[in-house]
Subunit: 507 residues, 2 copies
């Protein structure tokens, strides 16, 4: 709650303002062939009218715009129909009909994804869960929240805050994204280091399968060893196996004390040493360990009027956050850690925020990176997991490759501005970003498949938290072998044999 | 590491000494019909001899005893062959052969389960992973451990302790159970409150499927959103979908300070208030919140020579453990919590351990319960999850029902000694135990299906952490509906179409 603002929301409003140019259709940009699905007929619409009230059926072209385009304006579909059911039963009726009629469907949450996963590619029906927006129950003793899928993440967090709890996941897009969407995409975000992944915190799901079957696994139990944990399949399935309509999740007590320190370090080795030290000395109160290279910070400096937190520049910066139940104790732990880290020359320089404004200011140096990197024209973005010791090597290698190819420079004729690396280092998750003045086939060819092959060699993941969606659908093979992919196809085939759910994406 | 000893290991040695009577065959006790599997032939054994060295193939009756019986001596099979492969490749060759030949197989770890899940029912081949016992790798920076499935839990924990980390799961049976076994059964245990479930901490698995396919998903990445998270299916599948041969798991930094307090409370409502308060005030250092009723404590007192920690008796006791990185801070937090809890009259009385011996002594009052309850003759045991507010009502209702039926008394003619409740209250997990002087059909009929129906009504789980195995195979319907069970069967059918893996169990 102390972050100054939600970056992605800013970007969204920016995108909204510049609607004067139109995004190319995904199917044309990427040369996709329409699947053998039925086309929407008047009688289909009549059927949906018999289920939903008129204001929950959108057919007007202007109304459809939001649902047909992603917020980055990279992907555009040509859906003719958006359905906004208000109950799980309605979702079930809709899917049953679509399955029988062989009509393709794209489930959509807050439409804040980064890989085009919730945008139609052709004329798929958009099934928005935005109207499933009620908190169902909350248990004050256990901290277990049960909510509709369409509740906005920030609202869910505010709701549990009122009871002294915190939603165990936080994201830049929290003001727009849905609880169901973060579950369906297995979002990571800013609290994963502390509260773990959704595979651990989600206790139950209500899901509607492609054929309309309502799977009720909305357990409010922390432990339940009765059979295969099927809900796990839907976490991160990006709407390809079913539509998440309800979520049960364990919320931890809300920390009452928050500290943030911003540190300068000489090398990525020192970053790693600082991480091990922070885990040991800050232990249970460590809640974020974010790393930014100097390139990413210079670009933030260039595109904002913020003053750098540290007077000198360093190759690497680390933002450390502690969240605990006792301010005095947390202050003492942080102070000891910083003293030791300075004495041992792991950290060269650093500042500690004195109040919530300063905390917000320091966070900006991490949170404004994506926006700042985009200001030069465009960005090639990779969101990858790499074993920690090799993590930053990818940035070094890509930078070297681009420089050697002569595409990096300070003047307008060079496409590449720089190569920047930053991310949730505590989770082994790097955001490799290549800001460019203009998109260029040559640069693209230098980056791909080079980046994917590099990641594959170190058994990394080509998508740490953003998912596969449309953007990464062809690259899963770099992170998963044939056996695994074939098993995944088996699961898809079992749950959605007609493949009506979110086609042209994922696997 | 501060617990005084592993209760289950004590019990095991007790069971070993009393081998003079023989356990009835499971198939006869429970009237099971053998499946349509092939029978072992000399040429099968010859084939296995071509893969494994002679000392890893057991056929001698005496040698087979350990593998054919569970440690509680409740279940017995009549396997004629135990195979102990040393490599994943050997596991693959064995399963491929068994699948082709239609030979049934029981995967077995440390054989410490409570529901007969790893014991053959008929002549299934026992596939022991005990010889897959090497740590594969450990990353000092991330704390990620990769290990063979057959590594004993305590050894894995000792290994990571040497690097300042802790295995994120602890169990009474840690001296015998395997890492692979705890994963295959989704064990809960004593650290779940703090470190969460294995669905969150396990990062990757290597699994051999029924047909011998080696599924390599042994990721060492904390975040990976490339495709369905299939490893989750195997966590808690109890050997029915594949044989876990390798585990990758995230280990947290080892706490350097541990405190234990033992409290007396007047009602289960106060227990719940104490839990909420402990979560808030002890926050990030709370690592255990165990509750015991007075019945369970009286029985421990009767069967041991321990003196009660508190001079007066109370209806409920709570054991609170904190684990943190700074003893001084943890002491202060605990002191404040206890002061407030006493002032607010949530807690009536309490003691705090002053050293590791006292910590161990206090833990005994929780850990000796299962053994003590068994001393009177036998125990009807239920391991259930129930929404916290209703959790203890089950004990009250069962007790009332048994008393009203006239089966409870202090003299030898009454089968039931008492009704006791205790457990990992912080996880909503109750162990309902009915200690008896002798097993009695009338008591059994009073308990079942009453207990299961009661749990079903409050949407609880009839098996919180022990699993289904053989013992609970028929009761899953009380916790999961038909849709879910049918999906589970679909998964089983996909991964093990000939049903050679761990038959007669689970679903």
């Amino acid at each position: 709650m102390l972050r100054s603002f939600a970056t992605r929301n800013l970007l969204r409003s920016f995108a909204r303002q510049s609607r004067n140019y139109s995004v190319k259709l995904t199917s044309e940009s990427y040369d996709v062939k329409r699947g053998n699905y039925a086309s929407l007929t008047e009688s289909d619409v009549q059927y949906f009218n018999s289920i939903l009230s008129a204001n929950n059926i959108l057919q007007d072209k202007e109304d459809l715009l939001f649902y047909n385009e992603d917020w980055m304006r990279k992907y555009r579909g040509s859906s003719q129909l958006v359905l906004k059911p208000k109950t799980t039963e309605q979702v079930s009726q809709i899917l049953k009909h679509c399955n029988e009629r062989n009509l393709a469907v794209v489930p959509q949450g807050g439409n804040t994804g980064l890989v085009g996963g919730s945008i139609p590619v052709f004329d798929e029906i958009v099934l928005s869960v935005a109207n499933l927006n009620k908190v169902r129950s909350f248990d004050e003793v256990s901290g277990i929240l049960v909510t509709d899928a369409g509740v906005i993440l920030e609202n869910a967090d505010k709701f549990v805050e009122g009871h002294g709890y915190i939603f165990p996941l936080d994201l830049g897009a929290k003001g727009s994204c849905h609880v169901g969407g973060v579950v369906a995409t297995n979002a990571g975000g800013l609290r994963l280091l502390r509260y773990g992944s959704l595979h651990g915190t989600v206790l139950g799901l209500e899901v509607v399968l492609a054929d309309g079957t309502i799977v009720n696994n909305l357990s409010t139990l922390r432990k339940d060893n009765t059979g295969y944990d099927l809900k796990q399949l839907f976490i991160g399935s990006e709407g390809t196996l079913g539509v998440v309509t309800g979520v049960s999740i364990l919320c931890p007590p809300r920390p009452t004390a928050v500290n943030v320190a911003f540190l300068g370090l000489e090398s990525f080795e020192q970053v790693q040493r600082a991480f091990v030290k922070a885990k040991k000395e800050l232990g249970e109160v460590l809640s974020a360990f974010e790393c930014m290279d100097n390139t990413s910070q210079s670009i933030v400096e260039e595109h904002t009027d913020l003053s750098r937190p540290l007077s000198e520049q360093y190759p690497f910066y680390v933002l450390i956050e502690t969240s605990g139940s006792n301010k005095e104790h947390d202050d003492a732990k942080l102070e000891t850690f910083l003293e030791n880290a300075m004495t041992e020359e792991i950290v060269v320089d650093g500042v500690v925020a004195q109040d919530s404004t300063e905390i917000a200011n320091l966070w900006q140096w991490r949170e404004l990176i994506p926006e700042a990197l985009g200001k030069g024209g465009g960005v090639y973005k990779y969101d990858v997991s790499i074993p920690l010791p090799q993590l930053y090597d990818l940035v070094v290698d890509v930078n070297k490759r681009l420089i050697e190819a002569g595409v990096v420079g300070d003047t307008p004729e060079y496409p590449v501005i720089a190569t920047a690396g930053y991310g949730h280092i505590g989770d082994g998750n790097l955001h490799l970003n290549v800001p460019v003045r203009f998109y260029d086939k040559k640069v693209e060819k230098l980056l791909e498949p080079f980046v994917y092959e590099w990641i594959s060699k170190v058994s990394g993941s080509i998508s740490a938290e953003h998912g596969l969606g449309f953007a990464k659908r062809n690259y899963i093979g770099y992170s998963k072998d044939e056996q695994l992919i074939s098993l995944m196809k088996g699961v898809k085939n079992m749950l959605d044999p007609k493949k009506i759910l979110n086609p042209y994406k994922y696997i």
